[in-house]
């Protein structure tokens, strides 16, 4: 009941954000109804649109699951972007080293490496936070920039594609045998991985000691400490799992639709994932729904210029408006809920 209510609340805020964007675009001289129609069309209705929506939604879903875990445990790991990059980079290196080996060996090895890469990129902010209290918001954010530079270095250095002549450096393409999807980016393998990740994370959060304790400690670490928990273990585990999931998404993007690393690819992935987790109010099922919605928006971005004459950056504006409303909602709702209740005082 409560989760349905919070889902409705999020939906209301998204609608308000969309209406606001409509007004703004209308003022700017575009047709708002046409814009909404093309978004809906480009996201889900047009032939192939749903596949495109899923293509974007599935990796976002996986990274957002990681965000759900760390946020539930009370750690604001906003370094999904960096962990996503580091996962992709680690997988790319392993694919390069094992070149020529059978796909049955290379593909699993790449996934292990990708998840390990993401986990390691979340490990150091986790250790800094737990051992010295360094704010993980700062360190994981910094980690994003560092990872982006490492990506540029890797694509322009060790893994540089010598034949590439474009403006953007990129790595040597993966062997076709190692790809898990074509460049459209949707395949049974990816769907299975995403569903498996969703089920496992749901079970982790709802059917293991870790899940319940992480929820308790995310809301009140002191209480859990007084129960005799080693809170640092719960915290570090949540950082590692969260990073591993972002790394998994990075690996999927590398071995599926992209087939290679490109400097600065998908720069908004990690932040959209945070937005998805927040819209979903940190529920796994909600995350799946929200990921599909934002995947649809990403798919619509391709069609907007053609159908409504809007730049595809319009989708970024819509995303920003939604994130503004979603981040504002908790504080606002709390204040409204407090009104009239008065303040309970001890007597």
């Amino acid at each position: 009941m409560e989760s349905i209510l919070s889902g409705l609340r999020a939906a209301v805020f998204i609608v308000i954000a969309l209406l606001l964007c409509g007004v703004i675009f209308e003022i700017a001289g575009y047709s708002a109804p046409l814009m909404f129609e093309s978004i809906l069309d480009g996201a889900f209705l047009r032939r192939g649109a749903l596949e495109q929506a899923l293509r974007w939604a599935l990796p976002l879903f996986i990274t957002a699951l990681g965000v759900v875990i760390s946020f539930r445990a009370g750690y604001f790991n906003i370094g999904g972007q960096g962990q996503f990059y580091m996962g992709a980079i680690a997988a790319a290196f392993v694919a390069e080293w094992l070149k020529g080996s059978p796909a049955a060996l290379v593909i699993p090895a790449c996934f292990v490496a990708g998840m390990a890469g993401g986990a390691l990129w979340a490990l150091w902010p986790g250790i800094l936070r737990i051992k010295s209290g360094a704010d993980e918001v700062i360190t994981t954010l910094m980690g994003n920039f560092i990872a982006a530079f490492v990506l540029v270095y890797v694509t322009a250095g060790p893994l540089k594609d010598p034949s590439g002549s474009g403006q953007q450096a990129s790595s040597r393409p993966l062997d076709a045998a190692y790809r898990i999807s074509n460049s459209l980016g949707l395949s049974p393998t990816i769907i299975i991985i995403a569903v498996l990740a969703g089920v496992l994370v749901w079970a982790l959060l709802n059917r293991t000691s870790f899940g319940i304790l992480a929820g308790l400690s995310g809301r009140n670490p002191t209480m859990v400490e007084w129960q005799g928990a080693r809170v640092w273990r719960i915290g570090l585990a949540s950082f590692l799992i969260s990073g591993a999931l972002a790394g998994l998404a990075g690996t999927i993007e590398l071995m599926g639709p992209n087939g290679r690393l490109a400097g600065g690819f998908l720069p908004g992935h990690g932040f959209t994932a945070i937005l998805i987790a927040l819209v979903a109010n940190l529920s796994v099922l909600g995350t799946a729904v929200a990921a599909l919605f934002f995947g649809g928006l990403a798919s619509a971005a391709l069609f907007l210029p053609i159908l409504a004459g809007l730049p595809s950056a319009a989708i970024d504006i819509i995303n920003a408006a939604i994130s503004l409303f979603i981040t504002a909602k908790s504080g606002f709702i709390d204040r409204v809920a407090r009104l009239g209740k008065g303040q309970w005082t001890k007597s």
Binding site: S209, L213, N220, M223, V224, Q227, T345, K346, S347
Partner: protein, 518 residues
């Protein structure tokens, strides 16, 4: 007699509701000028709310407050102060890094440019006039709690206060400190200030007040009565009411502070291995107060040891040290005969340590988490971190436990924060006092609870003792400690000043609390 005094404060039909809870219901009180009035009642009776309404901090839903015959704008602090009402709160709000003079100036009118010496001269003379032995240049954090309270009172009297309300002023004081405060109060009365003391000990009421008003469950059950014409038994009945007839006389006396409870239960302790043994334990000073200083303490199975002392004398550090959450710089901590000094709280808990912590809502419960998760934490921690669990099983166990502990709740998934204080404490008891408990630390377990819940907690601890648990009972309420403990240790500045065996004498224990060597 009555015609000697004019009515200063007149409250009519004061009613305050917080949500569904009625904190005050049609309270009519008239207090005469130039006298010392007491307002008594148990926790939850509405005493503090009454004080806050009169001081303008809470706006009543109904009713009015009149000073000298003229109505005061309701819920308006400035208006109340203007008419001469000042309130000294239960917990002080003096900035610790300020000097006394700065704190007083800040409270008086805030702005302006002053030289340090002018400021100190101004306030020193004010303090001297009130006979308060504090130097205006001292920092608040360096003052003992009694002096901080005196500064609060002095600050309240900066303006021309006619009515001074002190909310539970004795809660932070030793018995001797309370006696000194009462002298101060009489002194103020002689200077023409009317004083209202919010109290919950009959002993204190009879010692200082000229009239007493009793609140119970938000109702004024007895208007201002002359204390000269009432005895402690009658007062005790008024405070507790007839609802708790099952309480025995000792518990009644302890609840109301009517008389020092005669400790009747013989120490029936076995000579088994101590469940707790602290040998020469010292820790460093930290933000919770002084470090422990060579603590020697042992608790045998089936024994309740009370830790008495003014708050802030190392009780919190003692509890954290036994829990393994404070670093021990010297000495050893033993549980059930084995040295656990280097062991974690998890290991100590599996050896039978259970804790009812000081801060129910911070250390005891996660208020925004469901009841069953709060209850299950201990059980979950006994399993490997990534073990599969069955939430259904935990929910069922939780429902069973909450039922047998009489916890009133609506839904096992409701937030722990939505429970009342008493039910929240019962939830903690149901988690901590289990079959495997050997040593139970009960830190201020009845603070803020009403009569029924307080008696419930006492009974639960006595039942645990009967089963052979050792219990460490920390409280700042001597009546409660005397009633329940088999031995009492007094803590002063992180040190155990003295240990008393029954029968306990409030005078001797009180003297030890102030650091006097026995």
């Amino acid at each position: 007699m009555e015609s000697d005094h004019e009515t200063l404060l007149k409250c009519r039909e004061l009613t305050v509701r917080f949500g569904e809870v009625t904190a005050l219901q049609d309270v009519d009180v008239s207090l005469e000028a130039n006298r010392i009035h007491a307002v008594v009642g148990q926790n939850g009776a509405g005493k503090t709310t009454f004080a806050r309404v009169v001081a303008g901090l809470v706006r009543p839903d109904k009713g009015e407050v009149r000073m000298n015959g003229s109505a005061i704008a309701p819920g308006n602090v400035a208006a109340s102060r203007h008419s001469g009402i000042e309130l000294v709160h239960q917990s002080f709000a003096l900035p610790p890094s300020f000097t006394v003079a700065e704190a007083m100036q800040f409270g008086a009118d805030g702005g302006g440019l002053y030289s340090r010496s002018a400021l100190e001269r101004r306030w020193q003379s004010h303090l001297d006039k009130l006979d308060i032995q504090v130097k205006a240049g001292q920092r608040i954090r360096d003052l003992p709690i009694e002096s901080q309270q005196a500064v609060e009172i002095a600050r309240a009297l900066v303006s021309d206060a006619k009515l001074l309300i002190l909310d539970e002023p004795t809660a932070v004081l030793s018995p001797e400190g309370a006696a000194r405060l009462f002298d101060q109060v009489r002194h103020l009365r002689d200077r023409g200030v009317t004083v209202v003391l919010i109290l919950h000990k009959i002993r204190e009421v009879l010692a200082v007040a000229e009239t007493v008003t009793v609140l119970r469950g938000g109702l004024c059950v007895a208007g201002p009565l002359e204390t000269a014409q009432i005895d402690s038994e009658r007062l005790s009945e008024l405070i507790i009411g007839s609802s708790s007839d099952e309480l025995d006389d000792e518990d009644r006396a302890a609840l109301t502070g009517a008389a020092t409870p005669a400790h009747l239960h013989a120490a029936q302790t076995s000579e088994g291995i101590p469940v707790l043994e602290l040998k020469n334990v010292s820790t460093r000073r930290d933000s919770d107060g002084p470090g422990l200083d060579s603590i020697e303490l042992s608790i045998r199975p089936g024994e309740i040891v009370g830790i008495a002392g003014v708050e802030g004398n190392g009780q919190r550090t003692l509890v954290r040290t036994i829990a393994g959450l404070s670093h021990v710089s010297e000495g050893t901590v033993g549980l059930n005969g084995s040295d656990v000094t280097q062991q974690s709280l998890a290991d100590r808990r599996s050896a039978g340590l259970r804790i009812i912590p000081f801060e129910r809502n911070v250390e005891g419960l996660s208020l925004n988490s469901p009841l069953w998760e709060n209850w299950s934490a201990l059980g979950l921690l006994r399993k490997p971190l990534f073990a599969m669990i069955s939430p259904g099983g935990f929910r069922r166990d939780c429902i069973g436990a909450l039922e047998s502990w009489d916890v009133v709740y609506a839904d096992i998934n409701q937030r722990a924060g939505s429970l009342s204080g008493g039910n929240a404490q019962k939830l903690i008891l149901s988690r901590e006092i289990d079959e495997a408990a050997k040593l139970v630390i009960a830190a201020q377990p009845t603070r803020g609870l009403d009569i029924g819940a307080t008696a419930f907690v006492w009974d639960a601890l006595r039942a645990a003792r009967a089963r052979g648990c050792g219990i460490l009972f920390v409280s700042s309420d001597l009546d409660e400690i005397f009633d329940i403990s088999d031995r009492v240790a007094v803590m002063v500045s992180g040190h155990i000043q003295a240990v008393f065996e029954p029968p306990f004498e409030i005078g001797r224990v009180g003297a030890a609390m102030t650091g006097a060597v026995q």
